[in-house]
Amino acid sequence: MNKVSALIFGCNGYTHEIVKNIKHKYENIIVFKHKDESRNLELERSNVEIFDFTESWSFLKDIYDLDNSISFCVLEDDAENIFLTISLRSTFEELNIIALSKNKESATKLTMAGANKVIPMVQTTASIISDILDKPIVTDVLHSILYEKSDLKIAEIEITNESFFNGKYPSDIEWSKKYGVIIVSIIHEDLSSEFIYSSKAKHHAIKDGDIFVVIGYEADIKEFKRFIGRN
């Protein structure tokens, strides 16, 4: 059986940080280094393969379980990154591709090239900086939740026993008093995300298949999951 893997295209500082952050989830991480990229000795000690843009990539499906794998396109040159993304997407329709772009313009092109998620570096960094300055406490709280720097966690929980709620609306229930968690958003079947107190969410009875985005302490979240379904 082919391995579930993380494929990282590009061998640079970003690669190093991505490897550091995902190795807890992916045992098999392969770094594809473009032949023109400069040597990165630290990364070259791990699983590194050399590629160039004439590669057909079809060999990947023989080695890896691409439907369940994830790929990162992090070449420093935006044009090359777009070319790489489009090459991968044209070969593998289902591959989950996360790509890095310098700015919004490239981000749009990467989305058009088939990336599932694009991280526009400049905008992301700038937003974080202005958030730190404008809303330092909010930023601190969200970062500690998102990047697991505190005991607070964020989780996605899918509803599987709607009968538990008996047709109630999400805003009618005092979640934090009853279960010690806070429901921030509800994702409906059509994958649209709604704030719990938004008009749409207020008129949408809880039903199976809804996903709750929940913030709380780990034990409370686990307890809550037991009530309403599974992760």
Partner: protein, 518 residues
């Protein structure tokens, strides 16, 4: 006598009240940065306008004695006092005496009063004969109103206006840079006027029908012609006279064009400087300023985002980037952010006026250098710096940056979150970006809020459809998630709420105005 003079000089220089008064007068008269100077300037401008209005009115109408006395005595007295005060602060007599005494004492030679007095008189005369002081003096003269001729000196009071109008000072300083060109032009025009006047006088003065009778007429004609005004009251009648006229007209056009081009080029060269002075003046009035050092990719985006609700100043040593910032509608100066002089030139109090300094160059060397520079000026100002290569992180920590942002680490963390909880990640991202008008915000609990609300349960956030994520207790620097209703609010707490932007604003208003409404 000598020791008395020296003792007197020393006593003045150490007298706090004397120095304080002198400083106050100096600030009122000369220091544009002094907040009360503008009131003094306005007062003087009003006096000048009143004085000139009385003069104009007096030409054909009767003016009350009150107003005449006001103009002749009160205004003149105020101007006289101002003149004396300006003379007083123009140089320090005590400093000159002390300087000369210490100089002679150090060289072990006898202290000479005569040479010291000579130096004092020289310094005062230097002021008295300056153009501004002469205008000030002439503006006082209408006090001698019995001498009708001297009344016209009231017009010098108009010239005094220039002392209080900074734009005129800018204008003269700009023209002063072209002094050489103006002198050359003036000499050229003077020679042409002189030669043409003599020529026309020689050619026309003896003609019966000619209106040029004297050399004065010839000068008058020459100046009217060369200036291209050409009243036509005096015209040449001889062929040779007409030839001279043509030459003068052609020269006049050249002189006029040359004068215009000198003024234009002077302003063109000084335009950036003038704009810079104006920008610095604007900056000095701003509080809660963000200074962004460098204007590259990330800096541009940060500036754009901060500009929505804040005042932003960009400092960059690269002129093209500064121009780009200006085109983007941001206050920007072509100053090196790594140079202490740049901050001195801004004349701002970094501790009170600046909210944060952001070192956003895409070079760690520059960012470390700027951080150190800023920290050497202020120990307290908040500094945020970008980190491009993590091997330099310890240098930024050592330079004492408050917040260090390593962009590559961010990508790693985003990747981690995205592979783990993509839906939650998107939900939080949506919140932070403020899409669909849903926002996450912090509301401070100040004394006003505390006077109406004692516990979390009383806040009634549900009514405003807000999720209370928790409270941040400033005193403990700790976040309390989803606090129970009986939690007692403390001064300085922050509520972290999620909800519709409009409702958050309404809720904040409700917290602050509940006591009034009740």
């Amino acid at each position: 006598m000598k020791s008395f003079v020296v003792d007197w000089a020393y006593s003045l220089s150490v007298s706090q009240s004397y120095q304080k008064n002198k400083r106050f007068v100096h600030n009122c008269l000369e220091n544009d940065d002094y907040k009360y100077k503008k009131y003094f300037d306005i007062f003087m401008v009003i006096l000048i306008f009143l004085s000139v209005s009385i003069l104009i009115r007096e030409v054909k109408s009767h003016v009350d004695d009150f107003w005449l006395n006001f103009s002749n005595y009160f205004v003149s007295l105020v101007f006289f006092v101002e003149y004396i005060l300006r003379l007083w602060i123009s140089s320090s007599v005590s400093n000159i005496i002390i300087k000369n005494y210490e100089h002679d004492d150090m060289l072990d030679i006898e202290f000479q009063l005569s040479s010291t007095f000579y130096e004092i008189i020289k310094s005062k005369l230097q002021y008295i004969f300056s153009i501004k002081a002469i205008i000030d003096l002439l503006a006082i003269i209408p006090f001698f109103h019995q001498l009708r001729l001297l009344r016209v000196f009231v017009l010098f009071r108009v010239f005094k206006l220039f002392r209080y109008a900074r734009s005129f000072q800018t204008f003269t300083s700009v023209l002063a840079t072209k002094k050489f060109e103006f002198i050359t032009l003036l000499m050229f025009a003077g020679i042409v006027i002189f030669v043409s006047s003599v020529l026309i006088y020689v050619m026309e003065a003896n003609e019966a029908n000619s209106k040029i009778d004297t050399l004065y007429d010839a000068f008058y004609w020459s100046i009217v012609t060369i200036s291209t005004v050409g009243y036509g009251d005096i015209t040449p009648i001889t062929t040779s006279g007409k030839f001279v006229t043509m030459m003068v007209i052609i020269t006049g056009i050249a002189v006029l064009a040359f004068t215009t081009s000198i003024i234009v080029s002077a302003f063109d060269e000084k335009l950036d400087e003038i704009k810079e002075v104006k920008t610095i003046d604007d900056i000095r009035k701003i509080k809660g300023l963000y200074i962004i050092c460098g204007y590259e990719n990330i800096a541009k985006e940060v500036a754009k985002q901060l500009l929505v609700n804040n005042n932003v100043l960009v400092l960059d040593e690269d002129i093209s980037r500064v121009e780009e910032a200006k085109r983007d509608g941001i206050l920007a100066l072509n100053y090196d952010p790594g140079n202490i002089d740049s901050y001195k030139k801004l004349r701002i109090d970094i501790n009170t006026q600046v909210r944060a300094i952001l070192c956003l160059r895409e070079s760690d060397v520059e960012n470390v250098y700027t951080t150190l520079t800023v920290r050497s000026i202020s120990k307290d100002v908040y500094i945020l710096s970008l980190l491009i290569n993590d091997i330099h992180k310890n240098k930024l920590v050592f330079a004492d940056a408050n917040e260090i942002l390593y962009t590559k680490e961010l990508v790693g963390m985003i990747a981690r979150e995205f592979i783990g909880k993509p839906v939650a990640f998107e939900a939080i991202h949506t919140l932070r970006a403020g899409y669909k008008n849903i926002d996450i915000d912090e509301i401070i609990i100040d004394k006003r809020v505390l006077s109406s609300f004692a516990t979390i349960g009383e806040l009634n956030n549900i009514k405003y459809r807000l999720v209370l994520l928790g409270i941040y207790r400033q005193a403990h620097k700790r976040f309390f998630f989803s606090p129970i209703d009986s939690t007692i609010l403390e001064h300085g707490d922050y509520l972290v709420v999620i909800g519709n932007k409009v409702f958050i604003k309404e809720f904040e208003k409700y917290l602050h105005t509940k006591s009034i409404n009740e």
